[in-house]
C-alpha cells in the first residue's frame, strides 16, 4: 500500500516536468525560431525607467529569427517588412546568443534553448530598451 502511494506521488511529481518539456520541445530549431515580444523596460542614463508593452518602443510583436540566413525579420503577416542582420550567433550552456549593430543601436538577444524564454537589450546612446518574450521553433523552409 505504501509503495503504491509512493508510486502515485512520484508519477504526480513527474507529470508537470514531462508536460513542460513537451510544450517547449526544442524552442530553438536548426533553421530558426519565431519569437513574440511582450514587455519592455526602457531606462535612460539619468536613471529614469518606464515599462510597457514592447510595441510602444516600436518593437515588432513577432520576430522571425533565421539562423541560416542570419537575420531578424518581422513576421510575414506584418504589413511593414523590417529586417536586421545578425552579426554574432553563439551557443553556450543552453543559451543562444544573438548580437549585432544597426543604425546606432546595439542589440543582444538571449534565448534559453530549453524553454524558449527571450531576453534582449537594445542599446542606444543614453537609453537601453530591455525586451522580454518567448520563442518557438520554426520549421526549415522547403
Amino acid at each position: 500500500m505504501q509503495r503504491t502511494i509512493l508510486l502515485i506521488l512520484l508519477a504526480g511529481l513527474s507529470l508537470p516536468t514531462v508536460t513542460g518539456a513537451s510544450a517547449a520541445d526544442q524552442p530553438v530549431g536548426p533553421a530558426g525560431m519565431l519569437c513574440s515580444t511582450t514587455i519592455a523596460v526602457a531606462c535612460r542614463a539619468d536613471g529614469e525607467c518606464e515599462s510597457g508593452p514592447a510595441w510602444i518602443w516600436n518593437v515588432p510583436d513577432f520576430i522571425e529569427v533565421d539562423l541560416e540566413a542570419g537575420t531578424l525579420t518581422t513576421a510575414a503577416e506584418n504589413p511593414r517588412h523590417r529586417t536586421t542582420p545578425i552579426d554574432v550567433v553563439r551557443r553556450d550552456d543552453g543559451l543562444l546568443l544573438l548580437q549585432g549593430l544597426e543604425n546606432r543601436r546595439a542589440f543582444s538577444i538571449v534565448v534559453a534553448e530549453d524553454v524558449g524564454s527571450l531576453t534582449s537589450a537594445i542599446i542606444l546612446e543614453d537609453l537601453v530598451v530591455t525586451v522580454f518574450g518567448s520563442c518557438t521553433s520554426m520549421p526549415a523552409a522547403e
Binding site: W57, N58, R82, T84
Partner: protein
C-alpha cells in the same frame, strides 16, 4: 532747478538702492541726500550746512558724470532693463529642445530596419511612440541644449551686472574725490 532735478533723481535712485542707503540718512536734513542714495557716506568737516552739502553733492554729481561718462540714474535704468531682458531670455530657453522629440520623427533610421527602428520616433507603425519613453532620447538632447542656453544667459547676465557695478564704483570714486576736495570726509 538743478538741485530739484537731482533730488528727484535721488528719490528715483533710492528705490533700487541697497540697504546701505537707508543707513546714510543725513541727520541734519532728516532725509536722504544724493550721496546717501549712491551709498556714499559724507560728513562735513568744515561746518558746512546741509544746504551747502546738498549743493556740493549736486556739483560733484555733475562733475563725476562728466569725468566718468557714467550717470548712475541711467545705469540703474539700464540694469533694470538688462534684468528684464535676461529674465525674458531665460524664459525663452525653456522652449529650447521642447520639440526635440518631434524633430526626431523626421530623421533617423533607414526604412525597414528592425532593430534600427526600435526606440525611434520615425516608425511608420509607431503612432504611439511619441507618448512613450521612446522620445526620451531626443528629449534628453533637448534638455542638454536647454541647460546650455540657460547657463549662457546666466553668464551673460552676470557679466552685464558686473559691468554695471564697475561703472558705479568708478562713478563713486570720482564723486568721492570731488567731495573730499570740498572738505568732506567720504566713505563708500
Amino acid at each position: 532747478m538743478r538741485a530739484m532735478a537731482l533730488s528727484l533723481i535721488a528719490v528715483v535712485l533710492a528705490a533700487p538702492a541697497t540697504v546701505d542707503c537707508q543707513e546714510t540718512t543725513d541727520p541734519a536734513a532728516g532725509q536722504q541726500d544724493l550721496a546717501a542714495t549712491l551709498g556714499v557716506y559724507v560728513f562735513p568737516t568744515s561746518d558746512q550746512t546741509p544746504q551747502e552739502q546738498n549743493a556740493d553733492e549736486a556739483t560733484c554729481y555733475d562733475w563725476a558724470v562728466q569725468k566718468t561718462g557714467t550717470d548712475p540714474f541711467e545705469v540703474s535704468k539700464q540694469a533694470q532693463a538688462d534684468q528684464m531682458q535676461a529674465s525674458e531670455a531665460m524664459n525663452q530657453t525653456g522652449q529650447i529642445g521642447k520639440g526635440a522629440g518631434v524633430h526626431g520623427a523626421v530623421g533617423g533610421a533607414a526604412v525597414g530596419a528592425l532593430i534600427g527602428e526600435i526606440a525611434s520616433d520615425d516608425a511608420g507603425s509607431g503612432a504611439a511612440w511619441g507618448a512613450g519613453i521612446g522620445a526620451v532620447h531626443h528629449r534628453r538632447k533637448g534638455r542638454r541644449a536647454q541647460k546650455q542656453a540657460q547657463t549662457q544667459v546666466a553668464a551673460d547676465a552676470t557679466v552685464t551686472q558686473m559691468g554695471h557695478a564697475e561703472r558705479l564704483d568708478d562713478f563713486n570714486k570720482a564723486f568721492s574725490v570731488c567731495l573730499e576736495g570740498k572738505d568732506y570726509m567720504v566713505k563708500y
